[in-house]
């Protein structure tokens, strides 16, 4: 990096807004990409940024970009560092541009139902601020405790209630983004527009490669007056999926839709299910210790785990939650229950869905135990239309089941299709072997996904993890993306090395 950069940044932002200390650089070297977690377990923090700069205003962002353009220094926008694809890793060094000092709600329009907030606001703080005023964004990613609004927008985030409220790209009306030449792209916060291509959507999901998103205007909804929870057991995945499709295509919009495959149903357990005691004898009745031991054996011998999974009861848990005005919720519940009953599903009452709602971020905490045990785990979220969904499910499991224990659930469902959330866990001796196995699993899963014609990511984004699959994913689209990048960011300073650009 140009040796003058730090001095110039200090001059522009103030000395306390720029750091070159090892502790600050190390803390931003890593996001929540499991490859970085595997590395840090070995004490390796990977490539370090040269410095960290904190912007407190749009003007600060412009100043940082001006220095970066002039000196050809990479700039990586940084929010909560909660990405799981290495999107903020400073592969070429440069400046981490931390936006968390831009953390205010700028306006809440109760009439239109919109909020305008700065990009650096932590998700949970934004949601709590809205709830105090009687609103919700309805956006509950499992990263809500550690991610920012800017990160949500930059990586096309999805929350757990996306079926009702949509993904972040469905909620956003307008944004402000600073471009490398100092201009600010400020898109109008209008409900819809026909004024040519949608420039908001162009920046959403660009992961800091086209501009630095500094604020967004998003839809908010009144806090739901009523919530309802339902649980059903299906005999297999295809039957469960068919019921989800039918109820969505009929116009029902549950808040959460989650269908767990047999192994995931076993792992999740049917806590709170309205079942006779002898029918509850799955995961939950195992003691915690036995469960942990079983998991360790499973990580070490995924093929064995695969055989064992075949012995599991043929049952897949579907949980549905509904929210809104009571009358509407009751109608949605009734229609959904009828569709599930018609498919032969067993109604097991509200317990499992209530339990999930109360513990909806629990899975994230579970990662610590897996990594502490020397194993690793990750999730792969892909999506496709209903006609290809079961083939996609089979293909990915087939591709990686030999190396890892694979569970899957289907959430983020739409009338046209659904996302599959694969969770895999595996183990290998030492950091190097773990990383090699990790990369192999990813490669095999992505290849299976592309073969099936599914999209390679539903909401985790691309970052470093998926860069090499972007050519096949986008085709000509990647050429256009590169061309556009060349126009907006001719010096290539914005988050270089990411998204396969």
């Amino acid at each position: 990096m140009d040796p003058n950069v730090v001095d110039r940044l200090k001059e522009a932002l103030g000395a306390d807004a720029v750091s070159v200390t090892d502790v600050d650089r190390r803390a931003c070297a890593r996001d929540l990409w499991p490859a970085t977690t595997i590395a840090i377990r070995e004490g390796d923090f990977g490539p370090l940024p040269d410095c960290v700069a904190w912007a407190s205003s749009e003007e600060d962002v412009r100043k940082v970009l001006a220095v970066a353009v002039e000196t050809g220094t990479p700039v990586i926008a940084y929010g909560g560092g909660s990405g799981v694809c290495g999107g903020t890793v400073a592969v070429q060094g440069g400046i981490i541009l931390d936006l968390k000092r831009m953390d205010r709600v700028l306006a809440l329009d109760a009439v239109s139902g919109t909020v305008t907030a700065q990009a650096g606001m932590m998700g949970e703080r934004l949601e709590r601020a809205l709830e105090e005023k009687g609103f919700t964004m309805g956006h509950f990613p499992s990263s809500i405790y550690c991610s920012t609004l800017g990160g949500w927008l930059a990586a096309r985030s999805a929350g757990q209630l996306s079926t009702k409220y949509g993904k972040i790209e469905d909620m956003v009306l307008g944004i402000a983004a600073v471009l490398p030449d100092g201009r600010v792209l400020r898109t109008k916060a209008s409900p819809r527009s026909a004024a040519g291509p949608n420039w908001t959507q162009l920046l959403v999901g660009s992961e800091g490669t086209l501009g630095i998103i500094t604020e967004g205007t998003l839809r908010v909804c009144p806090l739901p007056e009523h919530r309802a929870f339902r649980g059903f057991l299906f005999s297999d995945v295809p039957t469960g999926l068919d019921s989800i499709r039918k109820l969505l295509q009929k116009g029902v919009r549950p808040a959460a839709v989650r269908l767990y495959d047999e192994l995931d149903t076993f792992m999740v357990g049917k806590k709170g299910a309205a079942l006779p005691q002898d029918e509850k004898s799955t995961g939950e009745s195992w003691s915690h210790v036995v469960m942990q031991k079983a998991q360790r054996i499973a990580f070490a011998h995924p093929v064995v785990a695969g055989w064992l999974a075949k012995l599991l009861p043929k049952e897949c848990l579907l949980i549905l939650t509904f929210e809104g005005p009571k009358e509407m919720v009751q109608v949605e519940e009734r229609i959904s229950a009828a569709i599930c009953a018609e498919a032969g599903a067993k109604d097991i009452g509200p317990g499992p869905a209530e339990y999930w709602w109360e513990h909806r971020y629990k899975v994230s905490y579970g990662l610590s135990a897996i990594y502490e045990a020397g194993a690793f785990a990750d999730t792969i979220e892909v999506a496709t239309t209903w006609d290809r969904l079961v083939p996609l499910y089979d293909a990915v499991r087939e591709a990686i089941g030999g190396h890892a224990v694979v569970l899957a659930h289907f959430s983020h469902a739409y009338p046209e299709g659904c996302s599959i959330y694969f969770t895999f866990a595996a183990t290998a001796r030492g950091g190097e072997a773990s990383l090699a196995l990790y990369n192999q699993i990813w490669g095999d899963a992505m290849a299976a996904c592309l073969r099936t014609g599914a999209t390679i990511t539903h909401h985790h984004g691309v970052g470093l993890a998926r860069g090499k699959y972007m050519a096949e994913e986008l085709g000509v689209g990647l050429d256009l993306f590169r061309a556009l990048k060349g126009v907006i960011d001719p010096k290539g300073i914005l988050n270089p090395g990411k998204m396969g650009l």
Binding site: D24, V52, G81, S364, Y371
Partner: protein
């Protein structure tokens, strides 16, 4: 136990925090104030692990990460594993002291505590001497004053003694070879000094019927931490809000409802999350005014720190002040009378420009 052993003893917690997807980060008052990624609990504990594994050197910079914590306990509140971050960082601080890379405030505090038994110096001991006359004759209880109260809020001592006398607790003002309970020593990474102070108090309070304190951190030390040092007070230890709340419940304490501004209550971290006392102060304060009690949006288990804990005001005074300002910015009313039950919170609010009163001032 030396610092290295103390770090090793918390190995599993440290590993869990290192591998955690930052689930408590939004609640960390220091990270919220500085917006530094290095101040998130995950980053602070990751550095501790790297030091433990000898992957990075314990420099003054790394040590400064360990000192960026108020010990507020919000991290445990947000953790599904109920992991405590402060004890890990306090062990890291002790290692920093051992290796001579701790902030200069550590050596200063160590010297003052050793010489004077309190964190402010010789004049404070004299002041407590003057206050001894405030105490009751024929005492059946001891009022453990604490350094911050003695230094900045001596009126709380008078008010506490008077209030306690109304429920039959005749308290004398406690004075021994030390005033400090050892909390700042422990938090500064001076565990041996904390042990020394614990020894003094356990001996001096051997015959105390009952110990009452107005400082939640002192209660935590006397009640919860001393036993981990292998010494234990025979007397029961109460925070003043606990004992008054109990008597209010049983009908032994009557509080006259007065006109006046509405009260806004701030939960001190150690009184709430550490000692689990949420209802007693609310019950007491609701009786004190005709206007309904006001609440912060983040309250009880979720209450945000005032910035006064974990010796942060000694090592990073500006950050501590920002935390206090952040807390005050959340206040739902500018006119309400801000009340709390911890001298460190009172001090932080005073510094941040919105003076608050202690519960004992209001009830008196």
């Amino acid at each position: 136990m030396g610092a290295t052993e103390a770090i090793q003893a918390q190995k599993k917690a440290t590993d869990y925090c290192t591998f955690c997807p930052k689930m408590c980060r939004f609640g960390c008052p220091v990270a919220e104030a500085t917006k530094k990624e290095s101040h998130t609990p995950t980053a602070k504990v990751t550095s501790l692990r790297l030091v433990r594994e000898a992957k990075v050197e314990l420099t003054a910079d790394v040590a400064s990460q360990f000192y960026a914590c108020t010990g507020c306990g919000q991290s445990k509140n947000l953790c599904a594993h109920r992991i405590e971050v402060p004890p890990q960082l306090y062990a890291g601080r002790a290692l920093a002291v051992e290796r001579g890379v701790a902030p200069t405030a550590a050596a200063r505090l160590a010297a003052t505590l050793r010489e004077c038994g309190n964190r402010y110096g010789p004049s404070l001991d004299a002041r407590v001497g003057d206050l001894e006359s405030v105490g009751m004759k024929d005492a059946n209880a001891v009022l453990f004053v604490g350094c911050v109260t003695a230094k900045y809020f001596p009126e709380n001592i008078r008010d506490s003694v008077r209030l306690l006398s109304r429920i039959g607790v005749r308290a004398r003002v406690y004075r021994a070879d030390a005033l400090c309970s050892g909390y700042p020593a422990l938090a500064m990474g001076l565990p041996e000094e904390a042990r020394r102070l614990a020894g003094i108090h356990v001996k001096a309070l051997a015959n105390a019927g009952r110990v009452v304190a107005g400082c939640p951190a002192c209660v935590h030390m006397l009640r919860n931490v001393y036993p981990t040092f292998g010494v234990k007070l025979r007397a029961e230890v109460f925070h003043v809000a606990e004992i008054l709340g109990e008597r209010l419940k049983s009908g032994a304490l009557h509080i006259a409802r007065k006109k006046g501004p509405a009260i806004l209550y701030h939960d001190p971290c150690h009184l709430g999350r550490t000692l689990g006392v949420y209802d007693a102060p609310r019950a007491l304060l609701s009786r004190a005014r005709e206007a309904p009690l006001l609440e912060f949006p983040w309250r009880r288990r979720d209450a945000e720190c005032s910035g006064g804990g974990g010796v942060l005001p000694l090592v990073m005074p500006e950050v501590a002040l920002s935390i206090a300002r952040n807390r005050l910015a959340q206040a739902p009313s500018a006119e309400a009378e801000l009340v709390t039950a911890c001298p460190s919170c009172l001090r932080m609010f005073q510094k941040a420009g919105r003076p608050a009163r202690d519960l004992v001032n209001v009830l008196e």
